[in-house]
């Protein structure tokens, strides 16, 4: 029985992490049709800036430790927005409307560059920001099973991010415009939507979400080179499973992948390595456009 709860809770924690990682990717894709390989770098930059800032905060006497949570979120906002805007305005702006696959390659080149840039800025030594992770303590769930409260809070944060995204897209004017762009860019342009500004804002939001995922993960890990590359394929798998460009899809994909993986770890750990690709393969074989993706029939 405790295994069952463990699978559920672990699955939920992992899914919430996956959702945070994938949300920015799917938003950028949905609006800009750019499948952003450099998303992993945003994650890494978020993690590094959070770890170095929180590390600095705790290295001296800076008052209440709970402020470090604000630091985590704050630096993700700042770092993600700065990097995102620089990249969008400095490079991607000139490549709008280019072939989707070409954009994958462009962002792959960006990933290579940003990998070394993070190394230039932060070096290769690990960074730690463990204090916030331990600060919240743990909760026992029957017997010997205990969960870090930080991870449980992460579930709430993830749900909040999802709800916020839903609210912005469905209940605000800007969001409706954004959905118009997602739905049919040509008509949106014809209606006078400033697509360029929209793209810049979207890319910034996407990169902030990527950085936020990194920043919120930083307290639980040792921030080292290469962490960004690891999350890319995961995030890709989640958004493809869920349906590209759909926030709801990213959530569904994250839950499906998260629960599958948690199930594998508890029941058949030997197969953990295949789970994500297996799920992706199966979902696409049955539903080629992903869980929430729409097929657009071509008009002839």
């Amino acid at each position: 029985m405790s295994s069952f709860f463990a699978i559920l809770i672990d699955g939920a924690i992992y899914a919430s992490w996956l959702f945070l990682v994938a949300a920015g990717l799917t938003i950028i894709y949905g609006v800009m049709r750019v499948l952003n390989m450099a998303h992993g770098s945003f994650y890494a930059i978020g993690a590094y800036s959070a770890a170095s800032l929180v590390g600095w905060y705790f290295s001296g006497e800076h008052g209440n430790p709970y402020w470090s949570f604000l630091l985590l979120i704050g630096c993700a906002l700042v770092a993600g927005a700065i990097v995102g805007i620089i990249i969008e305005q400095g490079l991607l702006r000139f490549l709008h409307g280019r072939d989707e696959i070409l954009m994958v390659i462009v962002t792959y080149a960006l990933l290579l560059i940003l990998e070394d840039v993070t190394k230039l800025v932060w070096g290769v030594d690990p960074y730690f920001a463990y204090q916030p992770y331990r600060l919240l303590g743990q909760t026992a769930v029957g017997g010997s099973l205990r969960f870090a409260n930080y991870d449980l809070v992460l579930i709430a944060v993830s749900v909040l991010v999802g709800l916020a995204a839903w609210f912005v897209l469905n209940r605000t004017n800007k969001g409706r415009l954004l959905r118009a762009v997602i739905h049919d860019r040509e008509i949106a342009v014809a209606m006078g939507v400033n697509v360029n500004a929209m793209f810049a804002a979207t890319f910034a939001i996407g990169s902030v979400l990527g950085a936020l995922a990194g920043a919120l993960t930083a307290p639980a890990i040792s921030v080292t080179p290469g962490i960004g590359v690891e999350v890319i394929v995961l995030a890709f798998a989640v958004v493809v499973v869920g349906g590209l460009g759909s926030i709801g899809g990213a959530a569904a994909g994250a839950i499906l992948v998260g629960l599958s993986r948690s199930f594998a770890v508890h029941v058949a750990p030997e197969f953990e390595l295949f789970v994500i690709y297996g799920v992706m393969f199966l979902v696409l074989a049955i539903r080629p456009q992903g869980l929430f993706g729409q097929t657009l029939a071509r008009r002839i």
Binding site: L102, I105, L110, I113, V229, L284
Partner: protein, 320 residues
């Protein structure tokens, strides 16, 4: 059959000439360069497989699957079947890849764009996972491939690597000529039509999926050939051959070279290898950044790849 008809265009004698120059260089160039070119040409064969699919409008982020199958086919046949002949080994690896492609092709060619990319990626990562879990095959450490014999002859010392290089040049030349013919063949050109407008191809009476299927299988075969040559030349195989970053590198080189001509992947692979090795030497800490900047610059300033440099010059000359 006259000579003129035999060479369906002047590209073929040019490719032959290039092959002769490369082969002749075996005795002139430093050993490291011959080895670099061996691996680059082998890699170019895989890239050729990627390019063939790009001409069909499909980008494979999992071509490493067949690269790896070709390599492991060679390695396993040498290790467990006791086959020592380079030609037999390469043939085995290639046949294995083609069989796998025949099995997967019907499913994969139903997909387009990013879905094709992600499904091919998933397949190659599943192979990666299987190999990582295979302790008997050395898991991630892989295993070494003994130096092959060549039709019964076992070269020693310097001759060994040189023979390997010559074999690679030979295979590359044959593949280049074969693929040149494939690219200008009826099916090869219909492939471009499929990329441009699949629906019309269907209404003209040809199944686009069948066209893509042929391309997929052919690409698998040539990629496996590249994998087999890599295994024989480097003497080592491991699951990294199937990981997605390896596929990414092949796509990278395909974009670098361009898709306009059968020679483009070869130019791309050689230039890539040279840039990378000097980036590693001159900037050991920042070689990835160097590669990234070069790639970005190419996309921005040479959107049709390095080949457009060659093509552009020839057009100017033609006009003059």
């Amino acid at each position: 059959m006259s000579i003129r008809n035999f060479f369906t265009s002047r590209t073929e004698p040019a490719l032959l000439l290039a092959a002769v120059v490369f082969a002749g260089g075996a005795w002139l160039m430093p050993a490291w360069l011959a080895f670099l070119l061996t691996l680059a040409l082998a890699k170019a064969l895989v890239v050729l497989g990627v390019v063939i699919q790009m001409r069909a409008g499909l980008v494979s982020f999992g071509q490493a699957l067949f690269f790896c199958i070709g390599g492991y086919g060679v390695g396993l046949a040498a290790q467990y079947l006791g086959i020592g002949d380079a030609f037999a080994l390469l043939a085995l690896g290639t046949v294995a890849a083609i069989l796998l492609a025949l099995a997967c092709g019907w499913l994969l060619t139903r997909y387009r764009e990013i879905f094709y990319a992600m499904l091919t990626l998933a397949l190659s990562m599943i192979l990666y996972g299987v190999l990582v879990k295979s302790s008997a095959l050395g898991s991630t450490d892989g295993f070494n491939v003994v130096p092959p014999s060549f039709l019964g002859w076992v070269p020693e010392g310097d001759a060994r690597k040189r023979t390997m290089y010559l074999l690679t040049v030979l295979v590359a030349a044959v593949a280049a000529i074969g693929f040149h013919r494939f690219m200008i063949s009826s099916l090869g050109r219909v492939t471009e039509a499929v990329r441009e407008n699949e629906i019309r191809v269907d209404f003209l009476g040809i199944s686009p999926q069948a066209v893509l299927f042929v391309n997929y299988v052919v690409a698998a075969g040539v990629s496996a050939l590249g994998g087999g040559l890599t295994a024989l030349a480097s003497g080592h195989i491991d699951p990294d051959m199937a990981i997605w970053t390896t596929s990414g590198e092949f796509v990278f080189i395909a974009i670098l070279g361009g898709t306009g001509h059968v020679a483009a992947p070869f130019i791309g692979a050689i230039v890539f290898s040279v840039i990378r090795t000097f980036a590693i030497q001159e900037a050991p800490h920042f070689w990835q950044m160097t590669l990234g900047v070069v790639l970005l610059a190419l996309i921005l300033f040479l959107p049709k790849g390095l080949w457009s440099l060659v093509a552009r010059r020839s057009k100017k000359e033609a006009a003059a």
